[in-house]
């Protein structure tokens, strides 16, 4: 299964070019946001800015949508555009959107309306946009895609499960192409829950190699991949395997381990066991923030590195355990990258991306 196209929107801007710029530029302080649940009322978050989007055609098709859906549509649309594939007549295109929390901001807006106006008078628009599959639906209608359209949620492994399903659909011939991606939105209530359960980074820095104690900075954004079993000149990379938990034991030798450490687990020491001295490690969560589906953004970094044969330096290079981490950006021969995510039960998922 190959990555033919990729679209991304996050705190670093919209598009693969902006994401590449961010990888080159390194860590930037995230936005300071108002957090009414905190005593000092201030916190940090990596927020995506969707105000200056120029695609009027897309905007028209989703004028009533929420930010989550808009981010998903932008990313999915761009994945199609940069694949260079223009004609999908007669082809079946599937959509799988993976999300940990879905449109929770709109859900809370809807609850606000119930509390404010009573049970009889909340807005039907808020309700319909609060349904988990709204983003997939907007992608389908904005891009005129009529294949199977699915939204899935599995907290930490939502994205890996979606990739696994996309591969199944392609192998079965159920689809010729599958748009797979993730979308998450930051909101005040989620910030509160994070703050109650996790430690917030008071300096705005996620330090992925600290492992314990860990600090998070909430993120948001969307990333979509256009996948197919065929290859094109624009192909970013191949998704060689998606292994869940015990299956990862006999994993092949890779050129780079990207870990999803981002402060979303109370103790991230488990990541240390997946790393070895002779394979360099990277983690790009300090660019886009802490998200349960952050793997998708790390996969985007991996896909870009394989296409361009460049290893990007870790944006935050604090390294208290003396690990072999990528400390400078340089051209390199990269054949295989593994992206590793652990969940709160200690289960592991690995996505293997290979040079096309």
């Amino acid at each position: 299964m190959n990555v033919l196209g990729m679209g991304i929107i996050c705190a670093q801007g919209r598009g693969v070019d902006r994401f590449r710029d961010a990888l080159n530029r390194g860590w930037q302080k995230p936005a300071e946001i108002g957090a009414s649940y905190l005593k000092d009322g201030k916190s940090f978050a990596y927020l995506a800015d969707i105000r200056n989007i120029a695609d009027r055609t897309l905007l028209k098709k989703m004028r009533r949508s929420d930010k989550l859906s808009k981010m998903a549509v932008y990313a999915a649309s761009e994945a199609f555009k940069n694949s260079g594939i223009e004609n999908i007549d007669g082809k079946t295109v599937g959509i799988i959107t993976a999300t940990a929390f879905g449109p929770h901001v709109t859900t809370f807006d809807f609850l606000d309306e119930i509390l404010q106006y009573g049970e009889l008078h909340p807005s039907p628009t808020s309700f319909s946009n609060s349904v988990h599959n709204a983003a997939s639906s907007y992608i389908s209608s904005a891009l005129n895609i009529q294949g199977p359209t699915l939204t899935v949620t599995q907290f930490f492994f939502s994205f890996q499960s979606a990739l696994q399903l996309a591969r199944s659909w392609l192998n079965e011939g159920r689809c010729d192409y599958v748009l797979v991606g993730t979308a998450e939105q930051y909101g005040d209530v989620l910030g509160y829950i994070y703050n109650e359960k996790l430690r917030a980074a008071s300096d705005g820095r996620i330090k992925p190699f600290d492992f314990n104690p860990v600090f998070h900075v909430p993120g948001e954004g969307a990333v979509f991949f256009l996948l197919s079993n065929r290859k094109t000149d624009n192909t970013f990379c191949e998704v060689e395997n998606i292994l869940m938990d015990a299956e990862t034991e006999n994993s092949p030798q890779v050129d780079l381990n990207i870990i999803d450490a981002d402060g979303m687990l109370a103790d991230e020491s488990v990541y240390a066991y997946s790393l070895s001295e002779d394979i360099p490690a990277a983690a790009y969560s300090p660019l886009f923030g802490s998200m349960m589906t952050g793997s998708a953004f790390n996969c985007a970094a991996g896909a870009l590195m394989l296409k361009e044969q460049i290893k990007y330096a870790n944006p935050v290079r604090d390294n208290p355990h003396g690990l072999n981490i990528v400390s400078e950006t340089k051209k390199d021969n990269i054949e295989l990258i593994r992206i590793i995510r652990y969940n709160c039960y200690g289960n592991k998922a690995g996505v293997y991306l290979g040079k096309k």
Partner: protein, 386 residues
Amino acid sequence: MLITGLGVVSAAGVGLDNTLDSFSRGKRNAGRVTLFETSLPYPVFEVKDIPEKFYMEGRRTLSLALCAVDEALGNAELGSDLSGFRVGVCLGTTVASQLNDIEFYKSYRNTRSAPMTSANRYLKGNVAEFISRRFKVRGPALTVVNACSSGTDAIGVAISWLNNGLCDIAIAGGADEMNIVPLCGFGSLGVLSSELCMPFDRDRKGLNLGEGAGILVIETRESVEKRGMTSGLFISGYGSASDSYHLTAPRPDGAGLEASISKALSDAGITLADVSFVNAHGTATTDNDLVEGRLLGKIFGAGLKMLSTKGYTGHTLGAAGGMEAVFSAAALREGWIPASAGFENRDENIPVAPVVRKTTVDGRYALSTSLAFGGNNAALVLERKG
């Protein structure tokens, strides 16, 4: 893929036998909401007696799922420890995927602080993950949140996993609880009926919400043979297609539904003529029944045997597809479909009408359809052999 286990819980009954008894007697267990305070007058289909051993306070969707999974696994002669098998769990839901606890939010809204009990429950309440951990499952686990087609799509995902060797056995279907948020939401859309729902009826006024769970245990032939089991029931086809039209309204020409049916039939290697009956989505809303009924009439013709079971269960959202797959499989096995509760008068705009009495079905294939918010359409072909 063989179906070796069926489990169901709804207002029509706890367990398949009780459900079929309600169907047979035309019993409709609807009433006012009792699970929470509400001023909304719409009748709903609540599950009155979740067996104590499955009941978990504040985790109703999981309780319902557990109840149906337990029955399906018992049916399949599988125990409560599945660690010796390669099992996948794919379940659809809507309510359990959201932190839509109004008391939690009210507290946060008023004080910028709220007890974490419901947030913790939510974070540990992913329905597929919960079932997977509860039964020590080693294979894939995934929760499908495709609105009202979630249960059907979850079964479709399980079929793909089995086809691709990701597991040998799958627990698939859907579960959803009665909750104030969708009640207000569907109310705001103006699609709830203040009377008992009347699917496909000329005078239908909207849907009634329900709750429940419907679970199938699906296995590869190799797995069934290895376990020394037999089964005469199969899932033979699944199709899914998007309307690419509107967030809440179905595409008027039913093209997405037609594409999903066509894919499911081609998956099964059969034609429309092979279908014995259709268990329609049939929510009793004006738009759904018009689009679905017209499309079914167009492709099958006026002689189609069809029904909607929502007159017995209400619309159970993410559970509906799983429950209706269970009902369809059971109907093939038992050789009858129930009267389509609530239907009395034919709608002249719909060229097919559901059955009005318990009706014999002796064919080999059944079709179960789901339409959802977001323009999702999904269809399953179920088969009986021998």
